[in-house]
Amino acid sequence: MKTAKLTVLLLAAGLVGTTAAQSYKGPKVALTYLHGFTGADRPVMEKLIAQFNATHPNIQVKAQAQPWGTTWQQLPSLVASGRAPDVVVINEDQITNFIARGAVSPLTDAELKASGISKARFYGPLFKTADYEGKSYGVPISSVAYVMFYNKELMKKAGVTKVPTTRAEFLAAAQACTTDKSGKKAGQAGFDPKNLDTWGVSLYNNWVGARMAYAAILQNGGSLVDKQLNANFNSPQAVEAVQFLVDLVQKHGVARPNSTEEAELAAFSQGKVCFFPSGQWYLDRFEQQKMDFGVAFVPRIGSKQDAAWGGSSHLTLPKQRAGYDANKRLAALEFVNWMTQPAQNLSWTEAGSLPVMPAVARDKKFEGRPISGVFAKLSGIYATSGFPWGGQVLGPFDNAWANAYSGKMSVKQALDGGVSEANKQIEQARKTFQ
């Protein structure tokens, strides 16, 4: 069956009797490639493209780098007018929306196989980020994740010898790290949780802070949306998980109330807080500061599984007009495959990305580097993806976290409110996504 499809494809491409599935042998084609790697990652991407062009004389990739937001605004009209680029990079927070609206074409099993792209090469949840209704739409090229930075010096001072991995260890370590301005420990008489000198963990009120709640909910077996893709981040598991985080502030006094990301970042840099959960993108900053720090996977606060939030970028093939050159699609798949080979992915990690596949995470290059502390659990990273109404779910979720963390509402109230708001918006969005 699969061979039959493959033969059809190859015939359509004008290939006769070829068996080398991994390299495009058709006539010379030029591909347009749109991506949003416009910062320090741009030169790395450009180097890779130049390398691809040099080794593939019959495929010429012309890349265009532009801010992500511009691409999200342009892509629908480019697709609608039949002028879509051959390859586009789409991020995890946008991809399901574009899939549901029909902007991206599915990658069939036969195509993936013929071009040598094996799902098994990648971290499972990462590859599934671009799946929708049982089909695959993209191949992961880049990944960032929520991790837990820890300050070794302060931990030593507090007598914490092991990086916590469970809820109990995490709470105990956080308590050990917490001292108020008069030198009292949490739990001692007269302890003042509003005037902390050093403390256990950084919690804060923006969307990045809300990703800690996301991790805790997933770890507890909860989720953002149910099977019908309606918001359900107020399930008992979710409430329990978020309650634990809020208790760190309100009950245990090991995190600062009403803090901001900037304040916690500064506090961690100054050695005031033991654990700073945040995006792995702060790695550079701490390395340059020559801090004595480590990076660990987010401890397992929930009872079911290891989990953390991750963001990712996926190589996709947009929907093209009828009569699109089949050679171009084959060449595009070749490009996607080449770009996501271990060697290329290893080069790409220079740009600040995490490895997207175990083969790269095992590379010697990472030995002894702080970031390798999370590599063992990279398969536990989950994007906020899989539902076409990202804004409608994540906006209310982030707001609910802020309300619960600040103590403005009880955890249950805050999450219920968020879910009800999200579902009202989803109900309206459904009409446009039919």
Partner: protein, 309 residues
């Protein structure tokens, strides 16, 4: 050349004469049609359909998205009017401050005091910053934990810190103070220019009559500044209605959407929620509100002009 031809000319020449102004207007007309009339019309079309560029069908739904804005059970109505209320609140609070402070600074810096040029520059310079730089600066200043404002409260005054950025109501303070600092120089410069146009002889005459500082301001400066005050007032109100960047960067519209501006919510509905028809309908409602306001402004201006002549 035909422009200077006197009136009693041949009818043929008059025909050519009346064509010329339209030819001059043509380039602007074309740009106006392409970049204003067409997009506005297209936006209205979008607001009447369940519209997505990629959808195969874009059914006509009439005024559904407008009705949603008046149906209290929809999130659109709840958040849109909340954002409109926030925008109105910002305008009502910030405009008097922006006008009065600018006038006060202009009166101080119009006098020949030492370092006058330096102070003028100090107040004008923040205006050259982009909104993102200004926003980050004021977010840091008012940070709940590390902000300079809270450092002064705790370290110098011995008070408790205040979580400005995450308290409903208080979150407006950094936004308004930041906007004042950021835009005051422009209004101040307009006032300085207007003060320069008031003839000194009026003040000399008043002094001969024994007028002191207050009567001189009340009966000479203030009335003669009338036209520029009106101009400053109208432009500041319009700018305040367009509130977007400051709240986006300083508070992200929070806590709980209490500082979310109308344009910010329209942007969210369009580009975060991908509800373009709904966002277009809101934009038209917002535009209508601005139109009504501008109409009232013109009425006042016309009356003012009549009063002066």
């Amino acid at each position: 050349m035909s422009l200077s031809v006197p009136r009693p000319a041949a009818p043929r020449a008059r025909g050519r004469q009346s064509l010329v102004p339209y030819l001059y207007l043509l380039p602007f007309m074309l740009l106006f049609l392409v970049f204003v009339v067409y997009p506005v019309g297209y936006g209205f079309f979008v607001s009447l359909h369940r519209w997505d560029l990629l959808a195969e069908t874009r059914p006509f739904v009439g005024l559904e998205y407008y009705r949603n804005l008046f149906d209290a059970s929809t999130p659109q109505s709840q958040f849109f009017w909340n954002a409109m209320k926030n925008t109105a609140f910002f305008t009502v609070v910030s405009v008097p401050l922006l006008v009065a402070t600018a006038l006060g600074l202009a009166l101080l810096l119009y006098r020949p005091i030492a370092g006058r040029a330096f102070f003028r520059a100090v107040f004008f310079l923040p205006g050259v910053l982009t909104v993102s730089v200004m926003g980050i600066l004021w977010r840091w200043m008012f940070d709940n934990q590390i902000g300079l404002v809270n450092a002064v409260r705790t370290d110098l005054l011995g008070l408790q810190p205040v979580p400005y950025l995450s308290s409903e109501g208080l979150a407006w303070i950094p936004v308004i103070v930041g906007t004042l600092w950021w835009t005051i120089g422009f209004n101040m410069t307009l006032y300085l220019a207007a003060l320069g146009n008031i003839s000194q002889s009026l003040y000399e005459a008043a002094e001969i009559d024994g007028a002191t500082a207050w009567p001189k301001f009340r009966f000479i400066t203030w009335p003669l500044l009338g036209p520029v005050t009106l101009f400053v007032f109208v432009t500041t109100v319009l700018a305040s209605f367009q509130l977007f960047g400051q709240t986006l960067v300083i508070t992200s519209g929070g806590p709980n959407r209490t500082t979310q501006s109308a344009i910010q919510y329209i942007t969210e509905e369009a580009f975060s929620n991908n509800q373009f028809s709904s966002a277009s309908a809101m934009a038209f409602m917002f535009g209508l509100a601005m139109l009504i306001f501008t109409f009232l402004q013109f009425r006042i201006m016309a009356r003012d002009a009549r009063g002066e002549s």
